[in-house]
């Protein structure tokens, strides 16, 4: 489910803005570290979960406004270099601010321990994350599908010129899409923190997975990203049960295998 969140946000950004966002993983990591800091300051996990992703969204707003906005006319090469530079900066800032050593972060008291599901014993927090991520995915989907802004955003993926010809400020749309993508990355990071702990490298690992999800789902295909996120998550979990070392590599192997058969991705039309 977390992969679906990451993929959805990245798919939104790549689809609407048409840029390769290599800072997406870094935004994910920043979300996790924000959570730890907010919880440390306020002592409340729920407030942290609320505030941290909003902080990431604001960071995303600033990034779009100060940099990416000036690069729409430039080639992908410069956009890539810019977001890659950003990823380096954010990653190093994390080390400078929070230190190079991994941090472990416990879930809130009510979500500790496990639940007996009859056939298996499952940690409560993981169930919470699944529910939370599922809720967010559905909410995002409803936003995109049922609201006016969502319709504009989907139209922006299809045809940018047409949207701006209809008198809609396309730049505002771009900023909004980037902020929303950043928000989704941030909350995915915040939710992950109590499961896997935090380390400066967490963003890069996630970035690769997010790209796989987008590539499998089809570029700009939001439902495809959600489905691909689920498939990848399940594939990884299954492999991890039998051969832990290969669980990360298998994600990329799955992608390679699928692309051999369907170069446009599982759900890609183009």
């Amino acid at each position: 489910m977390l992969y679906a969140l990451m993929g959805l946000g990245l798919s939104l950004i790549t689809g609407v803005l048409n840029i390769p966002n290599f800072a997406h993983g870094a935004l994910f990591a920043v979300g996790a570290y924000f959570l730890v800091s907010v919880v440390g300051l306020l002592g409340n996990f729920w407030l942290g979960l609320l505030i941290a992703p909003i902080g990431v969204a604001i960071l995303g707003l600033l990034i779009e406004f100060a940099g990416i906005r000036r690069l729409y006319a430039a080639g992908h090469d410069y956009q890539l270099l810019f977001t890659f530079g950003l990823a380096l900066i954010l990653n190093e800032l994390i080390i400078v601010i929070w230190g190079p050593v991994g941090i472990s972060h416990l879930p809130p008291a009510i979500l500790r321990g496990g639940v007996d599901l009859g056939f298996t014993f499952y940690p409560k927090y993981r169930l919470f994350v699944m529910a939370m991520a599922g809720l967010l995915v559905v909410a995002t989907w409803l936003f995109l599908e049922k609201t006016r802004y969502g319709a504009i955003m989907r139209a922006g993926i299809e045809n940018k010129e047409m949207v701006s010809l209809l008198g809609i400020d396309i730049h505002k749309l771009f900023t909004l899409a980037f902020a929303l993508g950043a928000y989704l990355a941030g909350i995915a990071g915040a939710l992950t923190a109590p499961i896997r702990g935090l380390s400066p490298g967490m963003g890069v690992d996630m970035l690769g997975i997010a790209f796989v999800v987008v590539a499998l789902g089809g570029l700009g295909n939001l439902l495809g990203a959600i489905a691909a996120g689920l498939i990848i998550g399940i594939a990884q979990a299954v492999v991890a049960a039998y051969w832990t070392e290969a669980s990360t590599a298998v994600i990329f192997a799955v992608m390679a295998a699928v692309l051999l058969v369907r170069p446009q991705g599982l759900f890609g039309i183009r």
């Binding site: 790549t14 048409n18 840029i19 390769p20 290599f22 940099g67 000036r70 690069l71 430039a74 080639g75 992908h76 090469d77 410069y78 890539l80 270099l81 810019f82 890659f84 530079g85 950003l86 990823a87 380096l88 900066i89 990653n91 190093e92 800032l93 080390i95 400078v96 890069v204 690769g208 790209f211 796989v212 987008v214 590539a215 570029l219 070392e245 290969a246 990360t248 590599a249 990329f252 192997a253 992608m255 390679a256 692309l259 051999l260 170069p263």
Partner: protein, 305 residues
């Protein structure tokens, strides 16, 4: 011709200015950049996974050098071969697509190779890297001497440059540029664009592979970073700041990049932060790279003169 004179002058003067190891690193990185530039500058393909070929070649050739004591010519041949082979595998999956898709796929497959190297500790050493790569003697010359090795590296660099010049000026080079300019038209003329892109990819991979082997022998180790995505990003950066449109762009870029990273890394342990800032500044203010900036200044001074 003037460029060649300048280059040879640079090759001779460089070891006087910096340590031979850094001087060697510059030319190795330039070979790496030449390979990418065939894709980026001449074919219009932005590959964000060049370290796949660099690193794979370094690991395989390094392994053979270490355990089977092969000679340098064979090591370089194996390196270029592995680079080409891995590029063939990756390229086969990627060349059908272009634009954003291509970038993402090259990156994702780079991650695949990275995680294999990371987990396969019994061979690659995982996070610690693969140490103890020897530098065998060549024609009786002891290459353990840093300066001797520098001579070999710069000679190979000139060879690589000459090869690349021949390639881009050949009919193949023209077709690649035609595909870059207008793929539909090249297709209509009967050129199978994906196949030619794949050819460019494989050639670029061979150059990266050779550079990877030289890198491994230079430092005596294959670090895990050699196959990591930051390395792929660095070579893109070096090529872009040099100016990707020209044959000499990546050479200048490699100078600037190695110089930048070497001087930053002694300043502060967190130097990638400064590097990231440099990326952002270049993108926002100096698009077009050094070669372009230079020609702008040159044109300007000619007009005023």
């Amino acid at each position: 011709m003037r460029a060649l004179t300048l280059l040879i002058a640079a090759i001779v003067l460089l070891p006087l200015a910096v340590r031979p190891a850094i001087a060697s690193e510059i030319w190795i990185f330039a070979i790496f950049g030449l390979g990418l530039n065939l894709l980026l500058g001449y074919t219009g393909l932005l590959s964000f996974g060049q370290s796949t070929f660099f690193g794979s070649a370094a690991y395989v050739a390094g392994y053979l050098l270490k355990y089977y004591a092969i000679g340098i010519p064979l090591a370089l041949g194996v390196g270029a071969g592995i680079g080409a082979l891995s590029a063939l595998l990756v390229g086969y999956l990627c060349v059908q697509r272009s634009g954003l898709y291509f970038i993402m796929l090259t990156f994702a497959l780079n991650q695949l190779f990275y995680f294999i190297a990371y987990q396969w500790t019994s061979v690659t050493g995982g996070e610690d890297g693969m140490p103890g790569i020897p530098r065998p003697a060549l024609f009786g010359v002891d290459l353990r001497d840093a300066l001797h090795y520098y001579v070999l590296v710069s000679a190979l660099f000139l060879l690589a440059l000459w090869l690349m010049k021949r390639i881009v000026e050949s009919p193949l080079g023209s077709i690649l540029q035609a595909i870059r300019e207008n793929e539909v038209r090249a297709d209509a003329l009967g050129y199978n664009a994906p196949r030619f892109r794949l050819a460019a990819f494989v050639i670029g991979g061979a150059f990266s592979g050779a550079a990877g082997v030289l890198y491994a022998m230079l430092f005596g180790i294959v670090p895990l970073e050699a196959i990591g995505f930051v390395f792929s990003g660095n070579v893109v950066f070096a090529t872009l700041i040099g100016g990707s449109g020209s044959l000499y762009g990546p050479i200048i870029g490699s100078f600037v990049f190695i110089w930048l990273s070497e001087s930053m890394s002694v300043m502060w342990a967190r130097w990638p932060l400064l590097l990231g800032v440099a990326f952002v500044i270049v993108v926002l203010f100096f698009r077009g790279g050094v070669v372009e900036a230079w020609s702008r200044i040159w044109r300007f001074s000619k007009r005023t003169a």
